[in-house]
């Protein structure tokens, strides 16, 4: 029987989000939906989950046409959608969160005992019984993800939609999730997986549907296509993937120009040091939340004063303004929070630093936008009219047009498609080629391996619990080494730790 999408279309005003999307999924199948930004995959998932309405088309499940008027309606029919941005309430406890969609009652009142039982039952499977009565805001990101999954499972899904996993899971967690999904399959549950992480998709999914510009291009068995074949389908053109990269330079002479002997990592109360060379790209890796963000925030003066040695002068930076005047730049992957001014137009978004803070005149906004390959109509249009990847390019244009000496980037390619991603990588490499330095965090280890191979001089530092647990250089920059160093307890012996000396406290 299964689930069939027939010619689903959805417009937001004049913008077409999905166009005649077609798809058929069997019961017990785990289906990946893959596509760039603005390809409509999230919209499609939200239509199914009852969060948004469709304009035309039909969804047929087990022979019946379904058309949910609200998420509540969808949940009644056991169609459950979970996504990180739309799920947990920080002010409630884990058990309350798990049961909030269908609170067990005794008479008319909520049954607290039952809430506890119900959530413990599912938390046991995840080996997380001990967090049941904690508030969600106190949890680590990976635990939050598991709670989110628990919240979906407790509703006994017949169709489960998992939208965009962004937090990295520990290895044990991945196994648990894998088990859970196998179990769901056995029960005949349909699982829709939306993600950018290829490794996870290959591990968990049976088949994959590719979406592009709101259309479904085709469905393939997961084993049928290689990663680069999928990317080719998705983007419609060849993209440099990890397989085609240059070899890392093994030995290079560094021209150190910034020394940061005391970088505070407040989340762990630790301190680290870093020396930064001209033309260098430093990748920062590690499991999410191990102090990577703190490291670059601290360098940017977010936590108050930091003392640096720059071009052999002692300087101190108290806030972002001073960092900007010293020639630092900061690009965050959380565009909506840290990057774009959504009510303002492109010109204003580009001018934010150069004109308003550095007091330099911008003569030609178009030239800047063009040089960063932004697709736009005119500089007077709102930034939200662009796709996610193009918005990020505008932000990058804002910063790189100031010719920064040090670029700090926190997962700058998060949630943007492969083409935009490789464009940004090229910009970073170009900047480094001009003698500036780039420090870049990424939650995608492949990306770091790739970026660092693009310049002559590079390193990947791996962080664990607020410390730099390994520094990889040259040929030792590989995905295996990075992930091994990110969890040093189990496999410390395998890590190829290069030049750790002098950095221990």
């Amino acid at each position: 029987m299964g689930l069939t999408f027939q010619k689903i279309s959805k417009k937001y005003g004049a913008v077409v989000a999905i166009k005649h999307a077609e798809m058929k999924i069997d019961n017990g199948e785990v289906r990946a939906i893959l596509g760039g930004n603005g390809s409509g995959k999230s919209t499609l998932a939200k239509v199914l989950g009852g969060l948004i309405s469709k304009d035309t088309g039909e969804i047929i499940f087990d022979g019946n046409v379904i058309d949910f008027k609200s998420p509540k309606d969808a949940k009644k029919n056991h169609v459950i959608m979970t996504s990180q941005e739309l799920s947990l309430f920080g002010n409630l406890t884990v058990e309350e969160n798990i049961c909030i969609c269908d609170i067990p009652v005794k008479g008319v009142f909520a049954d607290k005992k039952k809430i506890k039982e119900k959530s413990l039952e599912i938390l046991k499977v995840m080996r997380l019984e001990n967090i049941a009565s904690k508030k969600v805001e106190e949890l680590a990101p990976n635990q939050q993800y598991m709670v989110e999954l628990a919240k979906a499972l407790v509703q006994d899904p017949k169709i489960l939609i998992i939208d965009e996993i962004t937090s990295a899971l520990y290895r044990e967690d991945v196994e648990i999730v894998d088990d859970i999904i196998k179990n769901l399959k056995k029960k005949g549950c349909i699982v829709l997986f939306i993600s950018h992480r290829m490794a996870e998709l290959y591990a968990m999914c049976d088949s994959v549907t590719i979406m592009k510009n709101g259309e479904t291009l085709g469905t393939y068995a997961m084993q049928e296509k290689t990663e680069s074949e999928l990317l080719l389908l998705m983007v419609g053109m060849k993209v440099d993937t990890t397989r085609e990269r240059k070899n890392h330079q093994t030995e290079s002479r560094k021209d150190i120009f910034i020394k940061a002997p005391h970088i505070k990592i407040p989340s762990y109360g630790t301190e680290e040091s870093l020396e930064i060379g001209r033309g260098e790209i430093i990748g920062v890796a590690g499991l999410q939340g191990h102090g990577q963000t703190d490291l670059i925030d601290a360098l940017y003066g977010v936590f108050g004063e930091i003392k640096l040695e720059m071009d052999e002068n002692e300087i101190s930076i108290h806030n972002s303004r001073q960092a900007v005047t010293r020639g630092f730049a900061f690009i965050s992957g959380d565009r909506e929070r840290d990057g774009t001014f959504q009510e303002r137009n492109l010109a204003e978004n580009v001018a934010a630093v150069k004109e308003l803070v550095k007091h330099e005149k911008i003569t030609d906004t178009r030239a800047i936008l063009d040089s960063f390959n932004v697709k736009y109509d005119n500089p007077g249009q709102l930034i939200t009219a662009l796709s996610g990847g193009n918005q990020q390019k505008v932000v990058v244009g804002r910063w790189l047009s100031t010719k920064p000496k040090l670029l700090l980037a926190n997962d700058p390619t998060k949630g943007i498609d492969v083409k935009a991603r490789s464009d940004l990588h090229k910009e970073f490499a170009k900047l480094a080629g001009e003698g500036s330095a780039v420090i870049m965090i990424s939650s995608d280890d492949d990306e770091l391996v790739n970026v660092t191979s693009m310049v002559e001089c590079s390193r990947v530092i791996v962080m664990y619990e607020g410390h730099i647990s390994a520094i990889l250089e040259g040929a030792s920059i590989t995905r295996e080494n990075i992930s091994a160093a990110a969890m040093p307890i189990e496999e410390k012996t395998n890590v190829d730790v290069a030049e750790r000396g002098g950095l221990d406290e």
């Binding site: 989950g49 309430f89 002010n91 409630l92 909030i100 969609c101 269908d102 909520a110 407040p266």
Partner: protein, 324 residues
Amino acid sequence: MNKVKKLISWNAFPALLLFVIFLGINGIMTGGLSVSFFRSFISTNAGAICVAIGVTATILVAGTDISLGSIVSLVNVVIVTAFEKGFSVPQAATLGLLSALLCGMFNGFIVGVMRINPLLATFATSTAFAGIALWILPYPGGYIDFSFGDWYLGNMFGFIPTPVILIGILVILWILVMKLPMGLHIYALGKDVKKAYASGINVAALRFFVHTFAGLAAGIAGICISANICAGSPTVGSTMSMNSIAAAVIGGVSLNGGIGGIWGGIFGASFLSILISIVVSANLSSVVQSFIQGLILLIGVTVSIAAADKELKTKIKRAIGGKR
């Protein structure tokens, strides 16, 4: 030990503490705390406490309601006019309560169903409600039978003062609501509307409910105040809206929603009330009183907000930690 810790970390604790301290100060200034002082304190301020309870409910879902003061005025005017038109006191009071409920439901409709920003919406309705009150009774005047006042100042069930019962009705009602699945939904909605919607919560209905509850609270407040003064005034509630919001904030209710509870509103309002009575009894010239009240309000609110500020706490901790 654990219970003490829990009490101290309770959102409403600072307000409770302040209330107790200032109660003590008041006792010292007026020469001891007597039962009659409590009776007159509760009968004078029951209205303010009820309105604070009502506004707290709306703030918990990340809304607000600045029309409650106007509703109180309206209830007062309705009761007086109805009584003068020949209705009995209970009938007049019921009419007043019903009109408050209607006002609350109207607020709930525009905020919940029409999705208008609660501040603007209740500002607009506040103008309208105050207008109706002024239309019905253009000038202060009229009277209500003193049996109403006697009932209010007397006891129910032998020993419980009537105002306490009236507040108790609201409290019990709210506690029951909190025990319903809706209780959790209210806190969830206060934290994040979009997430609440995605979790299958009926956002419009919940907003409608809290504003209706707030209307009811304002209705009871109107009864309290009318019974206490036994006269009519079309502007009797005009300052209550803003004092009640301040009370809720002092009581640890976050204006961003989802944090706090009605006890915060109750203690916050009690604290403000005792403060006002201290300022009045301090023999200050009447022209200075409102300035000093304002200043104290300012200090109270800023301190209670600063005390709840996690960022500030970690900053202080970091500063202390850094010096070590």
